[in-house]
């Protein structure tokens, strides 16, 4: 059994729009002999918007979570690429900028906390492919994905900016995972390009155009669905797909699954536990062929 501390982040929390991602992460990890225990009383990771508004507050918020995680002593694992990038940034900055660390330490102290910089922050994708491994996952599979054509979509922040567990521009881990489960990872040149992020709220046309490019590339390469590793990417590609169709007179109908949902299907888990019904573009038809 492997033990981790789990940080769902706002989107993948019980109240969040991507809670199904957490469901599928938990369902899959159980089968794979890993225990992801949710961090008690966590707060927002610090977030990219916050760091532009009040940078010190953002670092302090982020450091509170890391300090709480440090007490537990395990790697901190998150399914959200945005939380992943922020926590790694906080860790990195507290080491690189002593003046910032002094201030953050002082603020944490006011809350009776201290942080020594020892928490390793990981993404669920990293844990699954590197700690558990492709072969171990495939060994537990009950169903073969039977050549299901999947566009492996990484988005940005799981592979950038730091050299992480995969290539920053042309990552492969998700591709290999899909293949090891019997699926086909279609060539997807835009696999690590941006989904528009939170500009979907403020610059809708700009963000929708970025989504359109991704869907277009996936479709042209023969994908029947996309697999994502980030709740924001999933929401933009799935919930806004109808808006893309309206704005660009396109006719996309591509289900966008969390990669852990896809693993769950291969492991033969109950679809309810994987939250497949939360997909706005229904995945039923595509998956029916493989049941």
């Amino acid at each position: 059994m492997k033990y981790y501390t789990y940080f769902p982040g706002c989107s993948c929390s019980t109240e969040g729009g991507a809670k199904a991602y957490s469901w599928s992460v938990q369902a899959v990890s159980k089968v794979l002999d890993s225990e992801l225990v949710e961090l008690d009383d966590w707060n927002c990771c610090g977030s990219t918007p916050s760091s532009s508004v009040d940078e010190l507050a953002a670092f302090c918020i982020s450091a509170r979570d890391l300090a709480l995680a440090e007490k537990r002593g395990f790697d901190l694992v998150t399914p959200c690429s945005a939380c992943y990038v922020i926590f790694n940034r906080t860790n990195h900055y507290l080491k690189q900028y002593p003046r910032l660390k002094t201030k953050v330490d002082e603020a944490l102290g006011a809350g009776g906390l201290e942080y020594h910089g020892t928490v390793r922050v990981r993404h669920v994708l990293d844990v699954l492919v590197n700690d558990i491994g492709y072969d171990a996952i495939a060994a537990k599979a009950k169903k073969n994905l039977n050549g299901l054509k999947v566009a492996p979509y990484y988005g940005c922040q799981v592979v950038r900016p730091k050299p992480s567990f995969d290539d920053p521009e042309y990552p492969q881990s998700l591709d290999k995972l899909i293949v090891s489960l019997g699926g086909e990872a279609v060539p997807f040149p835009l696999k690590s390009r941006c989904c528009g992020g939170s500009l979907i709220f403020t610059e809708e046309a700009v963000a929708l155009d970025l989504v359109r490019r991704l869907l277009d590339s996936a479709q042209k390469n023969g994908a029947e669905c996309l697999a994502t590793v980030c709740p924001l990417c999933q929401t933009n590609l799935d919930a806004y797909q109808g808006e893309v169709n309206k704005m660009f007179q396109t006719n996309f109908h591509l289900p966008v699954l969390f990669f852990t949902q896809l693993i769950g299907i291969a492991l033969g888990l109950d679809e309810k536990d994987l939250g497949l019904k939360t997909c706005v573009v229904p995945a039923d038809k595509v998956l029916a062929k493989y049941r």
């Binding site: 009383d41 927002c44 916050s50 532009s52 010190l56 940005c156 992020g197 970025l210 919930a239 109808g242």
Partner: protein
């Protein structure tokens, strides 16, 4: 920190991640990599050149940096190792601190609201955030996302319930933020 003789460059350099501005060789790799460069009134490399020319007012009033998606493609490609994305965030931060509110883009307003929830509640209640953002900016725009919101509601993806920390957790977060406020920023 070494002074550059340019107050604006010094100001940017004093923000963690902003110090790279001194290293730029204007090769344009960041601009060529940026998915939104064509939407910006000044490209990322132009913003750096303007800052180094001391054009503080023009840079901070620009809406260019607000198109940054934080995709970090510029950062991993910069041959000088500049944290270009963080540089854009530093410009956003200074622009907000200055009280400059660029017209035509609602991103600073959205960021402020996001930060309000992160600090006061400790998490982001998506439905409340979206509703308040559209009411605050332009309720007429809200009709556009009604279909999106309805679809998400139908799939059980929008919750009225807001996640709350325990009483102790809330107190702790407040104490930390209160202290941080007294420390005068990064």
């Amino acid at each position: 920190m070494e002074k550059s003789g340019n107050a604006f460059v010094d100001e940017i350099s004093s923000i963690p991640g902003g110090e790279g501005i001194r290293l730029c060789i204007q090769c344009g790799t960041c601009t060529a990599s940026c998915p939104n460069a064509d939407r910006m009134e000044h490209t990322p490399s132009q913003l750096i050149a303007m800052a180094r020319a001391g054009m503080r007012k023009e840079v901070l009033a620009s809406k260019a940096m607000w198109y940054c998606l934080s995709c970090y493609l510029c950062t991993v490609r910069c041959p000088r190792g500049i944290k270009q994305t963080e540089l854009m965030h530093a410009l956003e931060y200074l622009s907000i601190k200055e009280g400059v509110s660029p017209g035509e883009t609602l991103t600073p307003t959205m960021y402020r609201l996001f930060n309000h929830y992160a600090c006061s509640l400790g998490s982001l209640p998506e439905l409340w955030f979206m509703t308040r953002f559209y009411l605050q900016t332009n309720p007429l725009r809200a009709w556009r996302i009604v279909p999106v919101a309805l679809n998400m509601l139908r799939r059980g993806r929008l919750s009225l319930r807001r996640r709350r920390l325990t009483t102790e957790g809330t107190g702790q977060l407040r104490a930390i933020l209160h202290k941080a406020e007294s420390l005068g920023g990064v």
